[in-house]
Symmetry: D2
Subunit: 334 residues, 4 copies
């Protein structure tokens, strides 16, 4: 029988609570400790899942804990990641490592001195449909990837306050797809072009953000990729990836929850798409966690690592620069 991994969870906000539920449900995980600045929230989560409450420092240094899940707010990721690694803990770190690519690079260099396993929260790599698409590629069913089309369209505008500290659409929303693109194609983005507009919420233009954007990328292999992002569709959450290869295409399409189709004189009415991103992707959080635990237990399971976290951010930085300058930009290879 497998030894259970002993986790501490740092952060119990929205995403922290998602992780808490998954940590408690996983048969090979024991959720030992929960930490949050909001003590009463930490108490609630801890008592629901039979864990105890501690401070971040306690969690990172406790001998009763071997793995840290960092789900605190973005500005604290880098510090907690470095401290956890220094304490010899394995780490699941929510993305991004830091909104500043420079700071992220420094912390990654720092962590490199401690040979601990780290995964960065690119959970969409574990989406079952996207995985089937990757298998189609790996099995040669569509030949070599030539043209990748990705769509990332959120259903509803987040609040202005969220957008103000999000780092902008490239670093906050598109970044998942920069990572998916690298993972799917096992190739690197060389050049990127981006155009954007603030159509849904014009006031975000005041701090240089956009809510609707299109991007194109050229890969080392010569393959070409497109991505479009919007912050609100009006028709649900629309995430799609299609890869055109030299011998065919694989399409991981937009998804609807199961439902009945209505036929009437006004047409054929299928159930709508998932109402929001979370309902669409929530199972990937569990699957990512499970893959990480299996890799910690010695299984040959691939999880996104620190370099993946940095490289996706490097693409986002080049996209921001392209948006700002109206030119194509080279992507730094880290």
């Amino acid at each position: 029988m497998v030894q259970k991994r002993k986790f501490a969870l740092l952060g119990t906000g929205f995403i922290g609570q998602v992780h808490a539920k998954n940590l408690a449900a996983h048969p090979d995980i024991e959720l030992v400790m929960v930490a949050d600045q909001d003590r009463s929230r930490a108490d609630g989560i801890a008592s629901r899942y039979g864990a105890r409450v501690g401070s971040v420092t306690e969690a990172i240094n406790s001998d009763a804990i071997d793995t840290i899940l960092i789900a605190t707010s973005t500005p604290s990721h880098a510090e907690f990641l470095a401290a956890s690694a220094a304490a010899g803990k394995a780490v699941y770190c929510e993305k991004p490592i830091d909104l500043s690519l420079d700071k992220a690079r420094r912390v990654v260099e720092d962590v490199a001195r401690h040979p601990v396993p780290v995964t960065v929260g690119f959970n969409r790599r574990f989406d079952p449909s996207h995985n089937q698409l990757k298998q189609h590629l790996q099995q040669g069913l569509i030949g070599k990837a030539e043209l990748i089309q990705m769509v990332c369209r959120a259903s509803e505008l987040p609040p202005l306050s969220y957008l103000q500290t999000s780092g902008g659409q490239m670093r906050d929303q598109a970044i998942h797809f920069f990572d998916l693109l690298r993972w799917l194609t096992e190739d690197e983005v060389e050049t990127i072009g981006a155009m954007g507009s603030a159509l849904a919420m014009p006031e975000i233009a005041s701090f240089g953000d956009v809510d609707t954007s299109v991007l194109m990328m050229k890969m080392r292999s010569g393959a070409l990729a497109q991505l479009d992002n919007t912050r609100r569709t009006g028709y649900g959450y629309d995430e799609r990836i299609t890869v055109l290869g030299s011998h065919g295409m694989s399409d991981s399409a937009a998804q609807s929850p199961q439902g009945a189709t209505l036929y009437s004189t006004s047409g054929i009415n299928r159930p709508p798409l998932y109402a929001d991103w979370f309902n669409r992707v929530k199972e990937t959080y569990y699957l990512h966690l499970d893959a990480f635990v299996r890799s910690l237990n010695g299984k040959a399971v691939s999880v996104p690592g620190l370099h993946d976290g940095l490289q996706a951010q490097a693409i986002a930085e080049a996209a921001v620069k392209s948006l700002e300058t109206g030119t194509f930009c080279k992507v730094e290879q880290l």
Copy 2:
């Protein structure tokens, strides 16, 4: 806060294990006791979910238990149901009440003397898509039901040994759809015609069974219904219901797990249907259990009761008679 329902689970075979997992996961249920003739299997389930092992008699009579879930083999359902009711316990009883309609009627009369809540295991009533179809009907979106088409096609032949004691395709497989038909239309079947063949496994003809059958039914309202059943499709589990109403149609279609679609010169290859019935319907077990608990806690939630169990069996009996005699048969109204 809601008082947890204290359950005993009788039977830990395939379906008993499904219930065990759901009982353990439900926030308002405590799984107190597990009983099975196979003691070591009961031990395994009990220890996994933190329950204790007892005999059926203990479970039915224990004060620490208020609800019994009967998932033993069919021949024992009637006896355990009667005993549980006599002991004042609420009961979730797997279908059928008994393969003999006469015996089932007697036990239902017996149970009627003890005013305990009972639900019979027609879990497919809780299928999200079928429910959306029922809502389309109830909201008047398709008018009055006129023609109901149901398809129940299993993916793979069960073993011969299973078929020999199953009661036959009408009582074992079709019965779920006799119940769904009554539930969807809130109408009763008056007359039934059935034709069948043993095409996939000709040897079952020796004990009067069929593996492929078509049925037609006339309802009290004049509405007409069709059902077809097969024991193996070769392409996965195919369950569908469509209701044609006076103003439109609602279609609860065959379902596939999420996956990528492959486009190649040989066509457009969508992911296959669910591999088997269990993967298609498993969430309905949880939803049925949840509805039952909510009804026990005083919520106005409808669950299939003993009369539903009997009436579906009466339709099955008429179907068997039609198969045997080659005539249309009246359905007894219980």
Copy 3:
């Protein structure tokens, strides 16, 4: 270069005009003469397509004509068919041969004495999708046919006056599918059961007709078939055939004209089905005519013949008897 077939068209009502257009458009056909009791209508059609007007007798006896297309009203089919055959003409005869099966049999015996090529108007055999389904069967892609499901649902109620002389839903609407079933499976119907209701237009019950019906049939091979018919759906014309075989299924589904899909908060709205049966099947008239001309020119092309016309009517008669008597009925093999 092929010698053009010289056609006379008898009848210029709705379906006669459809044929006129196809006759004029076909490169290997010359439309020589048009006959109709309504002289001015015949004049209009003749002048539009460069033909001349004649009487039925003239058309049948003219040496300038080698093929007769009978598209007059049903009661005159048998007489014109017999006369055309006696005059040595090839004949395309709209279905049915005669509403009376006895009379139809007598005329077929009569025609048998004149070895002329005759096709009966079961144009749906030339539907491209149904043909692909038949190819799936013939190529062994789904194994042996076991369960055939057919749906024939008209979009709008025809006028009462039409229904009064139509011969009833079995002889008028279902008959096309009796023919398709024989053609697809290359098997014969042995027994049939039918149930029907007058739900959409209750007044047709006064002359023994129904507007909603379900049928089941057992084939010689043991295969089972279902058919449902309605006279109005409220959501367009819905024609479907699926064949479940021993190794898979082929589905010739309901069809919509091409159009854009609308995504909004209220769901995903696909274009509606074809508005009516004619728009769905109109190309099959041309394809049937073309197959007939190719067969006349010595190509090995199969077209529905007189025996097909009779046998489909024999199934319809058995269906009528089942509807009337509430029993399963044997189908006469002609």
Copy 4:
């Protein structure tokens, strides 16, 4: 009754033959004369459709002709267009006006001195599905256009000899979608970025062409558009347009000819997409011709004009420049 338009057809190559068939079939058109350098080909077409053969000069100057359809090879378009206009004829001119935008502008200025109706061959504007998408926009069903996604993927590589004189992927293939974008949105492209690779046929890089390309465009309104083009998919012809608006999305999807769907253990196999572009779009040639004739007959029907021809070419020129320079390029507004 409407006076028939008297057409001369210049050019009887592949596309000229498509036009010949449509001209002959149209009830309000008389195909009077056919001209081609290849006299025997012109003879064949003329005799098939009952026209006579003449020289281009004869056609343009004949009093028996009021409309010229120019379907000759690209280098002669400009000269024949100018001559036809000078002779007072209405003109249907295949695109492009000329591969050189400068020469095209000069001929348009020239034609402007003769007030004759001219349409340029952007037949895809008459695609029924794209039209339904445009109606969704015009009826306000999806709000204001914000993000337009277009896919233009040919099924098979054209011969190298074709590509060498085609003007390149932007001017030859993408140009249809530059026109569709302007027509759908009633907006103008301001800036364009393009990336391309020669992946399917690397040798075309020697003359500066690409076979796979992605483009992004910013419209005056701030709306953003994407287009991808490939020269061969391996899975059929894939043309799609989706418009995301402020309140929903409309999707004119890839289309397959009608066919049966095959269900087997290996998945659900839908009929493949149209085998090539011509089968997908052929009806639009008739619909464009019909719209032009109706506009000539005084109906308020919009057809693509000379300015549309020039502006689409201007976008193509900017795309070529972006491909060559690796920068975003402004589009000249003509």
